[in-house]
């Protein structure tokens, strides 16, 4: 993918050092994780056989210290996760994000899986359907986890396929299906080999049948490993594996695997057991070189992207560098502004529309079709102001201010009174109006204004659906001059038209009429 850049904070250690630390950290985690998964596979596997009455179910042996393995597996996973996220930040976190839901489900699956398997392990009675069901359910949960982890890792290693993955909501990058399946099977096979070998030496010697069974498990699992391993090998392009760093450990691992398989056959045929030292030694020489190959391939797959990310980070850093001082300055300035006084709240929340003195001529007023109100002209009660602040004015830009507490809003309302100029009662109109004008205004109101404003100023059923609706004139009104201007010029952007065609006297009389409607 083009255009990506690494995050702009330097790594604490060189990537090479981090990768060197990753190898043992991941090895420790994976060995315990394989032991955990292997124990569960074996327990479920043997539980399908009937137990002789009076004997301990064989699954109990495998689950006996399950709690220990899984606790260690989980806690040892912290280090590789940390190292991967620091060394391969962008690829790994991108892969995680492409699998975000499943990734987060891992936590739930592990909790559920462990609870169910612990319950199964403590009871471990295969004749009880509930316990077996619990064990199976837990087992399925547990197996989902490597399925998800392997998908995330395969995604990490194939940056070229990310964009298409996103477009198709794919589980793995295009063309990596065989690789993914083989890798997943390979993990499960390793779990069985390791688990069976480990438990082989922990089986009580009084049950030779159990040991023989485990040898069969190991042999079968090794066969699966060789098949899956071959498929995995074939899924890699020749370019990636034709290197000494890969070929040598791979050959060592395969040779040791065959050697171990030979030992297992010998133990089965002759009836002598496996020896601890040779088993441990050979298995170590299979797993550790394989883990080496795994990491080497991963590092090689990510090398080109790492270079691109480093360059991208440098470029990005240079691009935003000029803004550093100003950004720091803004941050420092903002840090000392607490929203605990009305002057600050007004200047931050109201001023850009309503202006510094509240006359509606804020900086953003030219960008609005419906002009912000001249607050200084509002005549209403503090309760109504509170309602407007909490509810906004639907159909306009006036927002809802529920983010402020009642105390903050009350302080703001006080500020809107003094110094802005809201008052609870409107002043007298500044001109004298004739009786003719008054009666004309009264008729006009009844026939024209009331169709939207209602006879009591509270609007009508229809006009209350307007966006914005006419204000409730019984609860709020405007100063005489402002009301006169609204009647004369209308309220642009709303349904209130201009009534400039009416004589001036009539318009003033209408103002008085509107003031009469106001009943605080």
């Amino acid at each position: 993918m083009q255009g990506l850049w690494d995050i702009l904070i330097e790594r604490p250690l060189a990537p090479g050092v981090l990768r060197a630390m990753l190898f043992p950290a991941f090895a420790a985690h994976i060995i315990l994780a394989l032991l955990t998964v292997g124990s569960a596979i074996l327990a479920i596997g043997v539980s399908l056989r009937k137990t002789e009455p009076g004997r301990t179910p064989p699954s109990k042996h495998f689950m006996e210290h399950f709690f220990v393995y899984k606790s260690l597996a989980v806690v040892l996973g912290v280090a590789p996760l940390l190292l991967m996220q620091v060394a391969n930040t962008v690829p790994f976190l991108t892969a995680i994000n492409l699998h975000a839901a499943s990734w987060m489900m891992i936590v739930v699956l592990l909790i559920a899986g462990f609870v169910l398997l612990d319950y199964y392990g403590i009871n471990g009675n295969p004749d009880s359907r509930w316990t077996t069901a619990a064990g199976l359910a837990g087992f399925v949960c547990l197996l989902c986890v490597p399925a998800i982890f392997v998908a995330v890792v395969v995604t990490t290693e194939n940056p070229g396929g990310w964009a298409a993955m996103l477009a198709r909501s794919a589980w793995v990058p295009a063309g990596r299906g065989l690789h993914y399946s083989a890798r997943f099977v390979h993990v499960l096979g390793a779990a069985v080999v390791l688990g069976a070998a480990f438990h082989y030496f922990r089986q009580p010697l009084s049950e030779p049948g159990a040991r023989r069974r485990l040898l069969r498990w190991i042999a079968a699992a090794l066969a699966v490993q060789l098949a899956a391993g071959l498929a995995l090998f074939l899924s890699l392009s020749p370019v990636s594996w034709l290197r000494a760093g890969i070929v040598v450990p791979l050959v060592i691992a395969v040779v040791c695997a065959f050697a171990f398989l030979a030992l297992v056959f010998k133990a089965q045929i002759t009836g002598s057991g496996l020896a601890r030292r040779s088993t441990a030694g050979l298995l170590a020489m299979v797993i550790l070189p394989m883990l080496w190959v795994r990491q080497d391939l991963q590092d090689a797959a990510l090398a080109p992207l790492s270079q691109q990310l480093a360059t991208g980070a440098e470029q990005h850093e240079a691009a935003i560098q000029p803004f550093r001082t100003a950004a720091l300055g803004t941050y420092e300035a903002k840090r000392v502004v607490a929203y605990d006084n009305p002057s600050t709240i007004y200047s931050r929340s109201c001023q850009f529309c309503h202006g510094t003195v509240g006359n509606g001529r804020g900086d953003e007023a030219p960008n609005l079709k419906i002009q912000p109100e001249d607050i200084s002209a509002i005549r209403t009660t503090p309760e109504q102001l509170h309602r407007i602040l909490l509810g906004g004015v639907r159909g306009t830009a006036m927002p809802v201010f529920g983010v402020y507490t009642r105390g903050q809003l009350q302080q703001l309302i006080g500020f809107l009174h003094k110094p802005i100029g809201v008052a609870p009662l409107p002043e007298q109109i500044p001109v004298k109006v004739s009786d003719d004008a008054v009666s004309s205004a009264s008729q006009t109101f009844a026939m024209t204004c009331a169709t939207c404003h209602g006879t009591d100023g509270r609007g009508t059923y229809i006009s209350r659906q307007f966006l914005p609706a006419p204000p409730d004139l019984s609860r709020m009104t405007l100063s005489p001059r402002r009301a006169f201007n609204v009647i004369t010029q209308g309220y642009p952007g709303t349904a209130m038209p201009s009534f400039a065609m009416l004589p001036e006297q009539v318009r003033w009389a209408l103002v008085r009429q509107v003031h009469v409607l106001y009943r605080p």
């Binding site: 462990f114 850009f352 809802v400």
Partner: protein, 458 residues
């Protein structure tokens, strides 16, 4: 911006991280350290048995130990890992940056966690054996475990404190002032006291509801009740210290963080709720010191719920009030760097987001662009159709109104980051939010392949 954005349906990203984290806090503080410390305390005061049969007392300790091991081993550890898993998926830029800044504390934390697991497993498996012959060793191991647990708290607190009071950041990026930042010590004291506070209440809860003589229950009430009494004033003092050190620009938003816009007009609820919590706990303390079973049974569960709510409240406040930042002065909560925002105002965000518009051959519609800008700018805190629903926040606003408001959200609402993008992009986002909030745009109608399918809400 270099990561695709996932939006959790209904709950929203912040809530998922928060819920998981609070569960972890309750289990790690209350059980892993707190209840365990009560076991050690009970073990230590064995000789002062006050007429309680030794076997019964031992049985209680074993019960507490089983609870601790079972809970921490399964849910406790995994919710801790869960914090990491959820932040990796929902706030990748932030977690990536924090990991690099605090790599060594995190690495040490790994070692501490591993020691903790080994210690608790050893303690558990050797419990019976050491109980008969080597009591002193058992006590010592228990104390070692508690110390290890407190070390884990020490390491995490530095990072958490940095996320609110970043010390010398962002001007000077030193490690030590960042880790030992102003809220480090008060928060550490609070957390340690909280461990004992929660642990003592849990221990009494286990004692009074399990089988055993009234003498055992009375003894537990008195012994653990004294711990509750002692830790409560420390908690309150530590919190007073903590909020004295937090800059006012953040702490003045604390009440809102708890009440949210639904209850801000009843701000008395904040004081009343906290007072109720303290009273319930005091009632429990009285019952516990008195030592009678019935009063303890009636008060311990409310006290436990109250204490858990209190702990959750602190975490909520702490996490919320750092807004609009996730790393103050360096990174906003939506992942955009403070320094990037003015650059993006001049240089298009869409043009510098590798995941936008390059994933398909067909052209992107305006709605797709709006949805993408929403995902990058807003989805860290807002959902469409869920918690903190943007449709509810924007309902009734005009499109030009939204265009204007988006330029000033960071001024109107102190914990919101500024919009990142050009003026034209702001218009696209305003139109998107307008259309989504008045129902014109349903998320399903957006072209599937041009934005992350996860940007869609179902």
């Amino acid at each position: 911006m270099q990561f695709p954005v996932y939006q959790v349906p209904y709950l929203g990203n912040g809530m998922v991280i928060g819920v998981n984290a609070i569960i972890h806090v309750l289990l790690s503080h209350g059980i892993a350290v707190g209840t365990f410390a009560m076991i050690v305390l009970a073990d230590w005061t064995d000789t002062l048995s006050f007429g309680v049969p030794a076997s019964e007392w031992e049985q209680l300790k074993k019960r507490l130990l089983r609870l601790t091991v079972a809970t921490t081993g399964v849910i406790g550890a995994l919710t801790g890992v869960g914090i990491w898993f959820t932040t990796s998926a929902l706030a990748p830029r932030a977690i990536a940056s924090l990991l690099r800044v605090f790599f060594w504390p995190w690495f040490l934390e790994w070692i501490v966690f591993t020691l903790e697991v080994v210690a608790i497993l050893t303690y558990y498996f050797l419990w019976d054996r050491l109980g008969t012959t080597r009591r002193k060793l058992r006590l010592f191991l228990g104390a070692v475990y508690v110390v290890i647990g407190l070390m884990a708290a020490f390491l995490v607190t530095g990072i958490l404190g940095f996320m609110l009071t970043p010390g010398s950041w962002p001007g000077q990026r030193g490690f030590w002032p960042a880790f030992f930042n102003p809220t480090f010590l008060p928060q550490l004291v609070y957390r340690v006291a909280l461990c004992f506070f929660l642990g003592s209440i849990i221990a009494v809860c286990v004692a009074v509801f399990s089988s055993g003589s009234p003498a055992v229950k009375a003894r537990s009430g008195r012994l653990f009740g004294i711990v509750t009494v002692g830790s409560l004033p420390v908690i309150l003092a530590a919190l007073w210290w903590y909020f004295a050190v937090v800059p006012k620009v953040y702490s003045s938003n604390a009440v809102f963080s708890v009440l949210t816009s639904r209850l801000t007009q009843s701000s008395w609820l904040f004081a009343a709720g906290n007072a109720a919590i303290v009273l319930i706990v005091l009632a429990f303390i009285a019952a516990a010191i008195w030592g009678r079973v019935r009063p303890m049974r009636y008060t311990v569960i409310p006290a436990l719920v109250a204490a858990a709510l209190f702990a959750a409240e602190f975490e909520r406040i702490r996490e919320f009030i750092r807004g609009p930042y996730i790393m103050p002065g360096y990174m906003y909560a939506n992942g955009v760097l403070v320094q990037e925002q003015p650059w993006l105002a001049q240089n298009s965000m869409l043009g510098h987001s590798p995941w936008y518009g390059k994933v398909a051959d067909t052209p992107v519609s305006d709605a797709d662009a709006g949805a993408f800008l929403f995902s990058q700018n807003c989805s860290a805190c807002h959902t469409i159709g869920g918690v903190n629903d943007i449709r509810r926040r924007a309902a009734g606003r005009t499109e030009d109104g939204l265009f204007v408001i988006l330029a000033h959200t960071h001024e109107m609402i102190p914990w919101m980051p500024p919009f990142s993008g050009t003026r034209d992009e702001r218009r696209l986002l305003a139109r998107f939010i307008y259309q989504v909030s008045n129902g014109e745009l349903s998320m399903d109608s957006l072209a599937r392949h041009t934005i992350s399918p996860k940007d869609r809400m179902r």
